[in-house]
């Protein structure tokens, strides 16, 4: 067992997570380096992760049609009737009947299935496999920070001491659910604001107070909560964002839909938080996954319907709010389930399973190939993984979140798959800000071009390093028309840098990397 030693590193200042909606702390900002780095990381794009807790049965969610006869044989207790399956015209898979809305999204190229996602040496414990998925570690490796936590920690140096500040007033990530998850745990502190449940959210934005017992202790408790609420560093911005949105699409009264409703409201209200996580629990369907008399009913069907209806309402709402181009969603679950079903009308802990992406920007389609199911499958046989889950993380980091490199967050180089449509991908690769400044080639290899769009004032173009140190003055003067500046980088030492364009009213940042030879 490997334990990554740097994770034992601890912060030297008393840092704090902005957690629980209750507490957090203030420190004066801003910090100019931090703001520059933040700008570099700011993509204005949002990723919403939906954690399907318990282990989703992939084989009953996305059905490989060419394997139906074997499936009928090895999972008779839970197999879907073929005539109820939602088949696709362009892929040899079918969706579970609960996915009717998602099927229509698929047809519009706004829903993408990635088959057989897992990892080597599958762990079958919920707890451990959840930690593996959230930390992006190897199966035999102990890491106690999350992949998004590490990404955010790198993108927003100085968190939490110098946050919020004028450049990033908003939470770096928001998760709905009790407690802060490992996903957003950075190397030193948690990077998320936790909204414990939808009720808490409405308490916060409507200034309601939870009931306390009518006792002297209750009176004190009420006071403590009042002060705690006032100290919540992000309480006001969340409230302000929420209050800007008066109308939303209709959402079902399910837990998942109500969480997504909050997420959409905060995005529409202008919160620049790039990452959200919501949860849908109950996928641990050891028994009663289906009803004996009708396999299209039962716990799993209900869960998938809740997911389907929640996502559909969310998508409709995004369109209504005009935020549909900047948001994508992604599901994940700690594992899939066994190939062979059990006699309790359920399935036990398994291995690989499909992941889903949705949103206007996604590429769509089915990525990957159908698994091969043997009609002689034994009880402990499992689906092989085709994609390592970290390939998917690398893809979303690179193609959607504009991460200059994903190695640092994933502990390795993982081959990416296409999840973002071509137009979107180009934008992401060009510039995190997406406008006004482009440096190529990147990584730098000697002679580079800095392409700057017109600026209405004299500016300075500089190179700074990751610690904020000024390295080189590249250009001083006006940029009265779009201009290309030649820039030699032969002497530059390998490392991460930022090209900045700064004037009194201008700040543009482009992250660059110089690689060693």
């Amino acid at each position: 067992m490997r334990r990554r030693s740097f994770l034992r590193h601890v912060s030297h200042s008393l840092a704090v997570p902005g957690v629980l909606g209750a507490m957090g702390f203030r420190m004066p900002g801003p910090n100019s380096l931090t703001s520059l780095l933040r700008m570099a990381a700011d993509t204005d794009r949002v990723l919403v992760m939906i954690f399907l807790e318990g282990g989703n049965d992939g084989l009953n969610t996305i059905i490989p049609m060419d394997q139906l006869s074997a499936l009928n044989k090895v999972r008779p207790h839970v197999i879907m009737p073929e005539n109820k399956l939602l088949t696709l015209s362009d892929a040899d898979v079918a969706f579970h009947p609960s996915f009717d809305g998602l099927k229509s999204l698929y047809e519009e190229n706004r829903f993408q299935v990635i088959q057989n996602v897992g990892y080597p040496q599958q762990n079958y414990s919920h707890f451990r496999s959840t930690d593996i998925w959230m930390s992006a570690s190897d199966s035999n490796e102990l890491v106690n920070s999350g992949w998004t936590g590490r990404f955010l920690s790198d993108s927003y140096p100085g968190y939490p001491e110098s946050f919020p500040n004028v450049d990033m007033t908003d939470p770096l990530s928001i998760e709905i659910g009790y407690g802060s998850s490992l996903l957003f745990q950075g190397p030193q502190s948690s990077m998320s604001m936790v909204i414990s449940d939808p009720d808490f959210f409405y308490d916060l934005i409507e200034n309601e107070e939870r009931e306390v017992p009518d006792t002297p202790a209750g009176e004190k408790l009420k006071y403590v909560r009042l002060i705690a609420k006032q100290s919540q560093q992000y309480g006001e911005v969340v409230k302000t964002a929420a209050s800007k949105v008066k109308n939303q699409a209709t959402y079902p009264q399910t837990y998942i839909a109500q969480q997504l409703k909050i997420v959409s409201r905060l995005i529409a209200g202008g919160l620049r938080t790039p990452l959200y996580m919501v949860r849908l629990g109950g996928f641990d369907t050891h028994d009663a996954q289906v009803e004996g008399s009708d396999h299209t009913k039962g716990e799993h069907a209900t869960l998938l319907k809740d997911l389907n209806d929640g996502i559909m309402a969310f998508m409709k709402d995004l369109e209504m709010q005009g935020t549909d181009d900047k948001v994508i969603g992604q599901t994940f679950s700690e594992f899939g389930r066994r190939i062979v079903s059990n006699a309790s009308l359920g399935t036990d802990h398994g291995a690989a399973a499909p992941m889903f992406f949705f949103g206007n920007a996604v590429m769509g389609g089915v990525t990957g190939t159908n698994p091969t199911i043997s009609s002689n499958s034994k009880y402990d046989d499992n689906l092989e993984w085709e994609f390592d889950f970290r390939q998917i993380y690398a893809s979303v980091l690179e193609q959607w979140l504009g991460a200059p490199s994903t190695q640092d967050f994933l502990f390795g180089d993982f081959e990416t798959v296409s999840i973002i449509g071509e137009r979107e991908k180009t934008l992401a690769a060009q510039s995190p800000e997406g406008r006004g400044l482009l440096v190529y080639p990147n990584p730098l290899n000697g002679r580079a071009t800095i392409q700057v769009d017109t600026v209405a004032e004299p500016v300075a173009i500089d190179l700074i390093d990751i610690s904020g140190k000024h390295i080189e003055s590249i250009y001083r003067g006006s940029i009265s028309k779009d201009q290309q500046i030649d820039w030699e980088t032969y002497q530059l030492r390998p490392g991460k840098y930022f090209v900045t364009v700064r004037g009194q009213h201008t700040r543009r940042v482009f992250p660059v990397v110089k690689v060693g030879y």
Binding site: A15, V19, G24, R26, S189, P216, K220, Y223, V224
Partner: protein
């Protein structure tokens, strides 16, 4: 209220030394809090409590008398009834002497007089070394709190220190400050009148409230006033002493001085009566004291006037009432309504007088009473910084740095000191001679402790213990071992019982089922089957050295305890 007289014993660079060694400037908290609505009168009085006597009731007693409650404290009460439990709490142990644990050659701190590991309590004035000695004293006080047994001793010391305070940075002579605390400790369950007499003659107090500068040529009323207003009589509705009484008391007290000629020498610095400074005229007191006249005496006999003064003050009914009110506010509930005054305070004051101001019988009666154990008092006080910070550390069974390493121990206890100072409570230096406002300032009282800053800093402290470790110094941060903590509970394997037991030890109120379920859902990472936790726990217990099993359990416990400790209930006791 501090003196303006020349304290020429202070080092010339006193202000610099303060800036160097007093790491956190005094934190004055905003006292603008809403008053609590009057609570309805309780029917209970001083009759012995005979109600239910389970963990919930025991923990109420322990929370109020200790700094945080440990599983071992609860076990210490096992098999004891209320009365026996209180008797146990009113026992005293021994403490070791504070020593030079601050020598730090690397940073240029080497006390020329006291060797590393030797006590400094008899040291001559050490000029700039009074800085680290004072911090050594304060750290030692904190160490004693952390290492307390299941007794009231340390909490009672804090009670007296708050009621009869000095400011150690003002005294800036650690051996004198030590003597003051030693005097409080010697008398803490003893006789109030004896305590006040010793306090009056205590060299640190003679410096702090200028008694030693009070002489017939230049009377200083500071101590004469506080003796009545803050220490004995108080400011109750019937505390009608007059300015004349203040002046007369000050005149009685003239002549009591520290022995300046021995001031800078090693050994115990005595105070003594120097008759040439004594005002020999008669001292007239007001109707509040029955128009008493203390006849002026000359020569050594002048010293006897002090006894007469104390007799007069302790003959007054208000003195017994005042102490009982302060005990009640500190240990039971900060506000005293008419019912509490008549059913608890007045009979307690009777006990105090009947026993010639012996304090122990009063404490026995109070802690055994139905009123103290009244359900309405449970959880109704906001924890002070010491109860919160040291309580977390104790309850979670955090092991500090290696006790053999004295310097590191000094650093650790100073880390607690400054952490608590940031939260508004610097042990050894209350903000004024009145003590900490949370214990006396109506109408906010204990609400005084909480501001948006201090509550966030409290959360940082609990988060740091759960995640990255309580900061001791650069490179040393000590996290709580949550696995070890829950191992000490009765049912760590059962998520429901484990959370119930943990929350009772850490929180001031019983959690509702819904809240416990929320905590459980964190513990189970959203799974709905309790046995997943029991299995994970069982696997770790069978393979205690296995990193993977350990991390699985830790990753469940951390967010659970983070949430638990950020509940408002965690601020209450």
């Amino acid at each position: 209220m501090n003196n303006s007289k020349d304290r020429n014993y202070l080092p010339k660079n006193y202000q610099e030394l303060l800036a160097k060694y007093r790491k956190v400037p005094p934190v004055l908290l905003d006292t603008n809090h809403p008053a609590s609505p009057r609570r309805s009168a309780l029917a209970t009085g001083l009759e012995v409590y005979t109600g239910e006597w389970g963990d919930v009731q025991k923990l109420h007693l322990l929370r109020r008398t200790l700094f945080g409650t440990r599983q071992s404290d609860l076990q210490a009460l096992s098999g004891l009834d209320v009365s026996q439990a209180v008797d146990l709490l009113l026992t005293k142990g021994d403490v070791t002497l504070p020593v030079n644990n601050y020598n730090d050659p690397e940073n240029g701190v080497v006390d020329p007089e006291i060797a590393f590991g030797e006590t400094w309590v008899n040291a001559a004035h050490g000029d700039e070394y009074e800085g680290p000695r004072t911090n050594s004293l304060k750290g030692w006080l904190i160490k004693n709190m952390l290492n307390q047994d299941t007794t009231l001793e340390e909490k009672m010391l804090l009670f007296w220190h708050n009621l009869l305070p000095i400011q150690t940075w003002g005294v800036f002579y650690a051996k004198l400050s030590y003597r003051y605390f030693e005097m409080l400790r010697r008398n803490l369950f003893g006789n109030f009148k004896t305590m006040i007499k010793e306090l009056t003659l205590d060299p640190a107090m003679l410096l702090y409230l200028n008694g030693t500068f009070n002489n017939k040529e230049a009377p200083d009323e500071n101590y004469g006033r506080e003796l009545q207003e803050l220490f004995c009589i108080g400011k109750g509705p019937n505390a009608n002493f007059t300015e004349e009484d203040v002046q007369s008391a000050a005149r009685v007290l003239t002549g009591w001085v520290v022995r300046w000629e021995e001031f800078e020498e090693s050994g115990i610095l005595p105070s003594y009566f120097y008759s040439p400074f004594h005002e020999t005229g008669n001292k007239q007191f007001s109707a509040f004291y029955g128009n008493r006249v203390i006849l002026g005496r000359t020569g050594e006999a002048g010293a006897e006037e002090l006894d007469e003064l104390l007799d007069m003050i302790f003959d007054n009914n208000e003195t017994a009432l005042y102490l009982c009110r302060r005990l009640y506010q500190f240990f039971v509930y900060p506000e005293i309504d008419d019912a509490a005054e008549s059913q608890v305070i007045a009979p307690l004051a009777d006990i105090l007088r009947t026993n010639d101001y012996e304090v122990k019988p009063v404490l026995e009666a109070l802690f055994k009473s139905a009123h103290f154990h009244d359900e309405a008092n449970r959880g109704a006080i906001i924890k002070s910084p010491s109860e919160y910070i040291l309580g977390l550390w104790r309850t979670l069974e955090v092991e500090g740095v290696n006790a053999e390493d004295l310097l590191l121990g000094y650093t650790q206890h100073n880390s607690f000191l400054w952490n608590m100072a940031n939260l508004g409570m610097e042990i050894g230096d209350p903000p004024s001679v009145s003590g900490w406002p949370a214990y006396y300032q109506m109408p906010s009282y204990d609400k005084y402790w909480l501001t948006t800053d201090t509550i966030a800093n409290r959360a940082i402290a609990s988060d740091s213990l759960v995640y990255w470790g309580f900061w001791i110094k650069e490179g040393i941060q000590i996290p709580a071992d949550l696995i070890k903590f829950i191992s000490g509970l009765n049912h760590p394997e059962d998520p429901n019982q484990m959370l119930r037991e943990s929350s009772r030890l850490l929180l001031g109120m019983e959690l509702e089922t819904e809240m416990l379920d929320n905590l459980k859902s964190i513990l189970l990472s959203g799974q709905q089957t309790d046995s997943y936790w029991s299995t994970a726990w069982g696997e770790l217990m069978e393979n205690p050295e296995d990193d993977e099993y350990r991390m699985v359990v830790e990753n469940r416990l951390k967010p659970t305890f983070q949430h638990l400790l950020q509940l408002g209930e965690a601020q209450l006791m």
